[in-house]
Amino acid sequence: MTSVSTAASGQEAVAPHVTPERRQRGILLIRGATLLLGLVSLVQLLSVLGYIPFGFTNWQPVLIAYVLWSAALCWGLVLRDGEAGWRAIFVLPAVLFTVALVIFPTFFGLYIAFSDWNLQSAGGRQFNGLDNFYQLVADPYFWNALGNMVFYVATVLVQYAIAFGLAMLLNADIKAQKFFRVAFLLPFMLSPVAVSWMIGKSMLEYRFGPVTHLLRTLGWSQPTLLTSPWLAKSTIALMDAWVWIPFMMIMILAGLQALPKDVQEAAKVDGATGWQGFWQITFPLMLPVSVTTVVLRIIFQLKLADIVINTTAGGPGGATDTISSYIFRVYKDRSNVGYGTMIAEVYLIIIIFFVALLLKFTSRFMQRAV
């Protein structure tokens, strides 16, 4: 065992096979890099806040100092702790990367969310406390989009049922099984942006679209799929389902293939019908896979934006709007960074709560089912 051991007296850990000089060099390297990072950050912060007349033109030097500090920290740990240091740097780069690109931006996002920051504002960014939150609470466009999200999320259950059926078909002994598996997966390989143009803007086009042409042939004189609220919402949901059902299908298919066949065979021997075999054996056994699939799909669904932006821009009258497409407009068309970030942060919290509740509910449901 060569890991760092901490003396009971509280003295610093001593790693075997590490000379005191080497250990000292490691400590110096870490402290030096930390000092550099702290100094660069402090200078830039004081400069930005106007406390000192000098500083860097932007935050890039701080980023460079962070990268240097990260490298020095890894190197210093190896020097200081020997093999334990080597073990630490198996994980440390990933941790530092996550801190830089996930944790810091999330908290920095909160900082922005509490500010009045419109890119075109003469006054620049101003701290405005909870004003953005209060604005959100009173924002009918946010609540309208959130209401639409309830509908879109509910459609996941329909998608799940269809995906389950398709997976069962593809799991059966059918001809050209491999071909159908690839063919059914194709929509998932397409970019939703491409789908929204190919289907939403072309095939469903009112005048020349082949789908609307077919609908006219079938007797619908004015097949306007994207101009009445519920029809538009349903059309968007259909396009979204077309893209994402293959994802659910492939997850469920993988689960079906992992099921022990002897249980089904035993049930058949005992005289179970096909429906009984599915409902009382296959479906319960597939619950863990189903829950994972549905939860993942709901998380994806909560971020629905691309098809909506391209096909209806949220209309008619906000009928197809989603939170993400609304955030897109707030950010992109209105440069309203502070408020847009507040919506994004609040939505993130809503998603976290919703998914946590969903997991808790499904966990209980599965325990009862078992």
Binding site: Q120, R207, A313, D333, R334
Partner: protein, 548 residues
């Protein structure tokens, strides 16, 4: 404009003769005998109009390069060969297919070869343009030296001191006096300083189906239905609305007819221009330049009775328009509806007219005519709070939507005189008088914008049909030069206002709000936006943009 124009051009033999001559001259171009000095200016203008010529399809990169070389005379008279060697310029613009930056690359190659400068191109999709520009400004990371920019963004750039003031030699080189009236100061200027080399002029004109309004059968039906006056192309919005309601259910040549087309779906803020085109005749009073905000307070005027009438007009006409109108943005309305034969009247930029004869999806060749936007017998006087009937007759107020693209040099080049001169020389080359004629005549994304572009005999001499050119160019010239033209405020965040309005208009058009209720909601949203952007500053910049 535009391919259909050169489809009218001279016969193939003439074109080939001209092109061969041009090519021969270009081949011997250089210090000893450059192309530009080989022609008198009129000859150059006539020669470039022959590139690529009739029946040759859209111009290619080789054509753009040739035009760029032939129009280099002004640069050569003020810049020494290789004078900008070692200078690198970043040029930010749009990446639309075969136009804007794609076109500029070819047009500026000869300039770069001659001066020795290098140009690095920053290409942006139109939808990303505003966000990219605003981020660069807000984060202090302006990384371009020259930008292709619309006048509505002047508040963001010039108003914040980010642009370089135009040197006098550039003004002389590009002949700014040749600009149509509305593109002259205050457009392109801030606080008395000039910043913009115009390369485009924008206005909405009125496109209508001449065959529909000349049809005798429809004229009879119009009379029988008790229609007011003769059956003819409408000249007021009231007539537009009446014709739109009348045409519902009618057919011509077996095709269903529709009247006016209102783009009811948002377009990243650009959709608001289309309500604006309906509204300007009602709200742009000849006595005042303002029609969107009160200049002294930035209080929105968008919920006054004039604007509400325009919104109500849309609501009244939508049931008579195609069934998918609620999901039709301006692009769809122009290119998938009007050009494809759906609808009889449309407000759009000059592109529609230029596509009528060239776009593969167009079925309305020879059936289209143009005019300035319709007027109104009365106009709302916002200051007096009442409708006025003008002694001069109906009020016309062409909508100068977007005010056109221009080329601006950023202030960051000012610290380096050589780079500054290079940047302005490039801008002057691309906004030069002769090169602009070619850009006005061929697909470029730009409309005619100089008085010299409206020289009908020049077009006719090049082989165009006089009636067509006269009608098409007159609709633009008369808009540009109209004394009561509605010129939008060049204030920071103008597209934020438009985007807010689009969201609310979508609700109004979908029947979720009444016209007045929606207009009040737009006004309230605009008030909040003004507060966020800084009311005092907005008022100051608004007044500056109005030349007050």
């Amino acid at each position: 404009m535009k391919v259909e124009l050169y489809n009218y051009m001279m016969n193939r033999r003439t074109m080939l003769k001209g092109a061969a001559g041009v090519a021969a001259m270009a081949a011997v171009g250089g210090p000893a005998m450059n192309v530009s000095t080989a022609f008198a200016q009129d000859d150059i203008r006539a020669a470039i109009l022959k590139i690529p010529g009739v029946g040759k399809g859209q111009p290619t990169d080789a054509d753009w390069q040739k035009v760029g070389e032939m129009t280099l005379g002004a640069t050569k008279s003020s810049i020494q060969p290789g004078e900008f060697k070692g200078v690198e310029l970043s040029f930010m613009g749009l990446n639309n297919q075969n136009v804007h930056n794609v076109l500029f690359r070819g047009l500026s190659k000869a300039w770069a070869d001659y001066t020795g400068a290098t140009i690095n191109w920053i290409d942006l999709a139109q939808a990303d343009y505003n966000a990219r520009l605003q981020q660069a400004i807000a984060t202090g990371t302006v990384d371009f030296d020259v930008i292709e920019m619309g006048a509505p963004f002047e508040g963001d750039v010039c108003g914040k001191g980010l642009a370089s003031e135009m040197p006098d030699w550039v003004k002389k080189q590009i002949d700014m006096d040749d600009y149509v009236g509305y593109l002259k100061a205050p457009v392109g200027t801030w606080a008395g300083k000039t910043y913009r080399v115009s390369c485009d002029g924008d206005c909405h004109n009125f496109n209508y189906r001449s065959d529909v309004f000349a049809d005798a059968g429809l004229a009879d039906e119009w009379k029988k239905a008790g229609g007011e006056g003769d059956w003819k192309a409408p000249r007021t919005w009231q007539e537009v609305n009446a014709a739109t309601k009348f045409l519902k259910g009618k057919q011509l040549g077996g095709q269903d007819l529709y009247g006016y087309l209102d783009p009811a779906k948002g377009w990243g803020g650009f959709g608001f221009y289309f309500l604006g085109s309906r509204a300007t005749a009602y709200v742009k009073h000849p006595d005042s330049k303002a029609f969107l905000f009160e200049p002294d307070t930035m209080k929105p005027m968008v919920n006054n009775p004039g604007w509400v009438r325009a919104i109500q007009d849309v609501l009244d006409c939508l049931p008579s328009e195609p069934a998918d109108q609620l999901n039709a943005d301006p692009g769809t309305t122009g290119f998938q509806q009007f050009l494809a034969g759906t609808g009889s009247m449309l407000s759009w930029w000059g592109d529609i007219g230029s596509n009528v004869n060239t776009n593969d999806s167009s079925v309305i060749q020879g059936k289209t005519a143009f005019d300035i936007l319709p007027g109104s017998p009365d106009v709302y006087n916002h200051a007096a709070g009442k409708w006025d009937t003008l002694a001069s007759g109906p009020n016309f107020a062409p909508n100068m939507a977007y005010i056109g693209w221009g080329i601006y040099v950023m202030a960051r080049v000012d610290a380096d005189p050589k780079k500054q001169k290079a940047a302005w020389s490039l801008a002057a080359h691309l906004g030069g008088k002769d090169i602009s004629l070619w850009m006005a005549a061929y697909p470029s994304g730009f409309q005619p914008y100089r008085q010299s572009h409206f020289n009908i005999p020049e077009w006719v001499g090049a082989g165009y049909d006089e009636a067509f050119i006269t009608n098409y160019l007159a609709s633009q010239a008369n808009s540009y030069n109209h004394p009561n033209a509605a010129i939008e405020p060049r204030i920071p965040g103008i597209f934020q206002y438009y985007s807010e309005a689009e969201d609310i208009l979508s609700n109004i058009y979908a029947g979720k709000m009444k016209a007045q209720e929606g207009a009040d909601a737009i006004a309230a949203a605009w008030e909040k936006r003004t507060d966020q952007l800084g009311r005092d500053n907005q008022i100051k910049l608004y007044k500056a943009s109005l030349g007050m």
